[in-house]
């Protein structure tokens, strides 16, 4: 057996993970991804003594099972032949692995820096010296934007290579937000006393707009490691807040998309509705972004019948209004539709090939949604609806937000119906187990959020790998703007709305 098969709430002992040779891995990985249609969920290195171990986790969406294997690199092996030419979705994973371990994937088509971390093994030069592609010829020009943008957003650099107004290629350079959050999480967990070794507060800051998604995945990784069962109510509240987060961001993005085409009336209306939803989060946990809600073992705040009525009232108001507003501001406005339809298309094959995830992938016809493919928590008992569109343009990526938001409201209503008074957390005690690996994931509003924790023989955390969906999708944005007018970039960008800090960690 070259792969260990497991399901996503299982604790794995690290000795049980098969160790294969690079040659075997190459044949099998390529076959599994290209023929069996499995997806790469994680690909990361762990330093153990002098050697590095590469873990690869694949997922089979149709049977909800995960497959893990590993390759050991002794200290003299400094390179291997890159997988990217055969499996393009690995391009960023391999660049990340190279940065962190110094083991070079030979033949990688663009082995460029990812994060410019200070502690990184392959760091050369400064972030300002990034090796951009450049283009030459008549009527060719390049446009450089960032890292400080015109809007109030996070830093990143975009380099457009244009022929007239047309974008030939967009190169996206990130890394400005790199603050070492994986390291911070590991160090805090290992250095704190036994009384408190769980820090969902840090996980919330991986990406502020996906605070609930990241914190609940972090918490469930810790629950898997400590074998904790969380109360039913806690699962319900986590699901409610995750759906609130989804609805809030989706509605905010619709506002931003309308803002980017200069339709301010529509933008401000959706903006005001978003306020009502995030203020509902505040009523639950005291933060408009759901921060401080989740803890290992459950949640910190319960939902009383009074609060439940308020939440219900608020979502009913928003749902009713948005149902009226969407036709008025989008579907029946030709001037809006002409900007959105046919802009920034990513077709299904491309989306699948480069490993896109989340609503952006579903808008292109790739049917992946962790809530239904690998259901956990409440999604096991009350399945979410998977929405798949086909066109893959800005309109599809906007419209899917609307549909998903409406389903989120229905889901919240369903959950509020079954919530009862009672415990909302279980006390989690004890140490982390030795030599263990745990993976958990959920569908945040942007796509799959995956965390993997690995412990050493003393039960200390040695690796905490975070994968935000932005990591998969940034390259999708670069492809979406190809052959579009440069003035459509803001639209494409907002229809993806990717996280800089989730990528940079």
């Amino acid at each position: 057996m070259n792969w260990k098969r497991f399901n996503c709430s299982a604790l794995i002992k690290t000795h049980d993970i098969p160790v294969v040779t690079m040659e075997d891995l190459r044949i099998e990985l390529t076959a599994k991804v290209r023929i069996e249609d499995k997806r790469v969920l994680a690909f990361f290195g762990v330093k153990r003594g002098d050697s590095n171990i590469l873990y690869i986790i694949l997922g089979d969406d149709t049977i909800s099972r995960l497959f893990i294997t590993s390759v050991e690199f002794d200290k003299d092996t400094r390179s291997y032949r890159s997988f990217t030419p055969d499996v393009p979705s690995l391009q960023l994973f391999e660049r990340e692995f190279f940065e962190e371990t110094g083991i070079e994937p030979e033949g990688h088509p663009w082995l460029k820096p990812v994060r410019y971390g200070k502690e990184q093994i392959t760091r050369t030069g400064l972030i300002e010296q990034y090796p951009f592609y450049s283009m030459d010829g008549d009527e060719i020009h390049e446009v450089a934007v960032g890292p400080v943008h015109a809007g109030v957003i996070e830093p990143g650099h975009f380099r457009f290579m244009c022929h007239g107004e047309n974008v030939y290629h967009l190169e996206i350079q990130l890394g400005y937000q790199h603050r070492g959050i994986e390291r911070v999480l590991i160090d805090k967990t290992n250095s704190f006393s036994e009384k408190s070794i769980f820090f969902p507060q840090i996980a919330e800051k991986i990406a502020g707009d996906s605070a609930v998604a990241h914190a609940s995945v972090y918490a469930s990784v810790m629950e898997i490691l400590t074998k904790t069962e969380i109360p039913h109510n806690a699962m319900i509240i986590r699901a409610i807040c995750l759906e609130l987060e989804r609805a809030a961001v989706h509605i905010g993005d619709l506002a931003a998309i309308l803002n980017d085409i200069g339709f301010l009336m529509g933008s401000s209306t959706f903006g005001a509705l978003r306020t009502l939803i995030i203020n509902t989060s505040l009523l639950i946990c005291g933060s408009r972004f759901g921060m401080g809600l989740i803890r290992a073992g459950g949640v910190n705040f319960g939902i009383t019948p009074d609060l439940s009525a308020q939440i219900l009232g608020n979502i009913n108001t928003v749902q009713k209004k948005i149902e009226k507003l969407i036709p008025l501001t989008m579907l029946e406005q030709p001037s809006v539709l002409t900007r959105l339809e046919g802009t920034g298309i990513v077709d299904k094959d491309t989306a699948r090939l480069i490993g896109m995830v989340g609503p952006a992938a579903r808008a292109s016809g790739v049917p992946i949604d962790i809530r239904t493919d690998y259901p956990s928590g409440m999604y096991r008992h009350y399945p979410a609806r998977k929405i798949v569109l086909e066109k893959g343009d800005v309109f599809a990526r906007s419209y899917i937000r609307y549909i998903e938001m409406m389903h989120s409201f229905n889901y919240i209503r369903e959950q509020l119906d079954i919530i009862q008074n009672g415990e909302v957390f279980t006390r989690v005690t004890g140490k982390l187990p030795a030599d263990a690996l745990a993976l958990s994931m959920t569908e945040g509003w942007r796509g799959e959020v995956i965390h993997v924790a690995v412990t050493d023989d003393n039960g200390k955390l040695i690796r905490y790998k975070i994968k935000d969906p932005s990591f998969n999708n940034w390259y999708g944005l670069a492809l979406a703007v190809r052959d579009n007018g440069i003035s459509d970039f803001p639209l494409c960008n907002k229809s993806f709305n990717l996280s800089y800090c989730g990528h940079d960690l």
């Binding site: 400080v148 830093p155 790199h178 209306t269 005291g286 933060s287 401080g292 910190n300």
Partner: protein, 251 residues
């Protein structure tokens, strides 16, 4: 056209009338009250992810606090109580450390002292540029919310502009990463000579939960002192707007 009118009617009136008196509903966590009954178990200090709480005597540094409320939940003596009071900005780093003696009334009056020259220059128009340096985007989104139809900070002449070259000052969010060090410095130098600096959020003020990470470079703040510290994680729009209005000396 008729669609737009309909949209406008559905929208109704959204703005908050009096931003100075607006309140935030519980369980929002704002200004913490500390009681004089500490038993010295240090659970609060042990559990704080950002090292904001210190005991004997109990002190909370709002500039580090993530407002997660863990210390309040764990304290067996119920000695810490986060209230909904949200006007918590200060003009010096020292004032942000709350102890048992600190009362909200007094804090609110003295924490931000209006400066004459700032009022004279920017009292009626303050253009700001935000520089995100490692922020998780929550503070950035709240800063955007300050200008939306609900909070509408533009009514006071306070605006976020697209370029530092148009700005009277910068707002820093995030813990100041090494990779943003140069861009932050450059942005700052592009603003007008009488520029002000606002540190927004616990990350910007002290590094917050990222304090001590090797990927940060906070030298900028050793060289330039912020004129206003606005704590929060993330900062609530009302905290931000009231803090800036206090600095400008507006009623």
């Amino acid at each position: 056209m008729i669609n737009l009118v309909r949209t406008r009617i559905i929208q109704g009136r959204q703005y908050i009338k009096d931003l100075r008196k607006a309140e935030i509903k519980p369980p929002f966590r704002g200004f913490p009250f500390i009681k004089n009954n500490c038993g010295g178990c240090a659970l609060c200090e042990d559990s704080c992810p950002s090292g904001a709480v210190k005991i004997s005597p109990v002190k909370i540094d709002l500039g580090r606090c993530t407002f997660c409320g863990e210390c309040q939940r764990l304290c067996p003596d119920h000695g810490i109580d986060f209230s909904v009071l949200h006007k918590i900005s200060a003009d010096t780093r020292e004032k942000l450390v709350i102890s048992m003696e600190t009362g909200y009334q007094e804090y609110n009056k003295t924490a931000v002292e209006a400066r004459k020259e700032i009022r004279k220059l920017f009292g009626r128009s303050l253009k700001l540029r935000s520089v995100s340096a490692g922020g998780c985007s929550a503070c950035e989104m709240e800063l955007n919310a300050c200008s939306n139809v609900n909070f509408d900070m533009g009514r006071f002449g306070i605006e976020i502009v697209a370029s530092p070259k148009h700005a009277d000052g910068i707002i820093i969010t995030g813990p100041l990463t090494e990779n943003m060090a140069k861009a932050l410095y450059d942005s700052y130098l592009c603003t007008t000579p009488h520029r002000i600096i606002i540190a927004m959020g616990s990350c910007a003020i002290s590094g917050g939960i990222f304090d001590g990470s090797s990927e940060l470079n906070r030298e900028f703040l050793n060289e330039f002192k912020p004129d206003l510290y606005i704590p929060g994680c993330p900062v609530h729009p009302l905290t931000f707007i009231n803090g800036v209005l206090d600095l400008l000396g507006k009623k």
